[in-house]
């Protein structure tokens, strides 16, 4: 901006730009408010819009987050009904290996009795001694950014597909 004269003052002001800037500022403030509210609601992970439940075959209930963040703690909570256990009291939850390749499993509670690779699946077998439903929680961290598809199945049941999005 070339220097201008305001009275005796020599200054590189630019009123046309300044006016445009004020408009942009107001638009920006609105955008910030919208982003904060969206964040509060869970559009960027953890919150009302993110928390989701899915019901699969064999009454497998999965609670997960639609929106997750890169390298942040995430959870998959499976609730398995008592009748899903085999006669010896075990049940298996299988997760697609494609999905597991993009996450880091930090911990599983309760710990699985056995983990076995089975084609495209990794099957976690849990021993259930208590009657009634049991909840298994996978604590993970996402290692990749972008949309993600999670396939899970209980025992040999039909797989259930779930979509997630991982923010950078």
């Amino acid at each position: 901006m070339p220097l201008q004269r305001v009275g005796e003052l020599e200054i590189d002001h630019d009123l046309a730009f300044q006016r445009r800037e004020w408009i942009m500022e107001r638009i920006g403030w609105t955008a910030m408010l919208v982003i904060a509210v969206a964040g509060l609601l869970g559009l960027f992970g953890t919150g009302l819009l993110s928390a989701a439940e899915a019901q699969g075959e064999g009454n497998l209930l999965l609670r997960y987050g639609r929106f997750e963040r890169f390298n942040a703690p995430a959870e998959l909570a499976f609730t398995v009904p008592a009748e899903a256990a085999s006669p010896d009291g075990t049940f298996g939850i299988s997760i697609s290996r494609d999905y597991l390749a993009a996450v880091q499993v930090e911990a599983i509670t309760p710990e699985p009795a056995d983990v076995a690779a089975d084609g495209d699946w990794l099957t976690y077998t849990f021993a259930s001694s208590t009657p009634g439903s049991i909840t298994v929680v996978f604590h993970l961290e996402h290692d990749a950014i972008g949309p993600r598809q999670l396939l899970v199945r209980l025992g040999d049941g039909e797989p259930m597909a779930i979509g997630q999005f991982v923010y950078p």
Partner: protein, 147 residues
């Protein structure tokens, strides 16, 4: 690769957010502004470094940030039209002893702010002693007293 991209992303986010916030935001007018700057730094640090606390990563991030800053200043000197977008423009808010209320309101500056700077910088006592006041790009107010 990761560290460079992180640094570029953070640089861009900070540039946009602070340009949107306006000249007066966080110009260290109050102690709280200063604290807020520290907290923002703390929040930024994690995203910049991730879980990699190696010397290489830190050096890479620093080189990228300073490099971007140099690059941007070179670019703005080549393209004068870009400069106001990146660096803002100063604004005259008192002209020949007359306060320009509309500009002051839009920039979130009031008489008290002008008087404070007049006392601090020039030892002036009253508004009528001020000839010009300019809201500078860094959010400070320059005062030119009447002779």
């Amino acid at each position: 690769m990761d560290s460079v991209l992180r640094a570029v992303a953070i640089y861009a986010v900070l540039l946009v957010v602070f340009r949107i916030a306006g000249k007066r935001a966080l110009s260290q007018i109050t102690t709280f502004d200063f604290v807020l700057i520290l907290v923002i730094g703390e929040a930024t640090q994690q995203a910049l470094l991730g879980s990699d606390f190696s010397l290489t990563n830190a050096a890479l991030v620093i080189v990228t940030l300073v490099g971007l800053d140099i690059g941007l200043s070179l670019l703005t000197s080549k393209l004068p039209g870009l400069k106001p977008w990146v660096e803002d423009v100063p604004l005259v808010i008192v002209e020949d002893g007359r306060m320009l209320k509309d500009r002051m309101a839009k920039s979130r500056v009031d008489e008290a702010d002008i008087l404070e700077e007049a006392r601090r910088l020039q030892g002036l006592e009253r508004l009528e002693q001020i000839k010009y006041a300019v809201l500078e790009r860094n959010g400070g107010i320059s005062i030119i007293p009447k002779p």
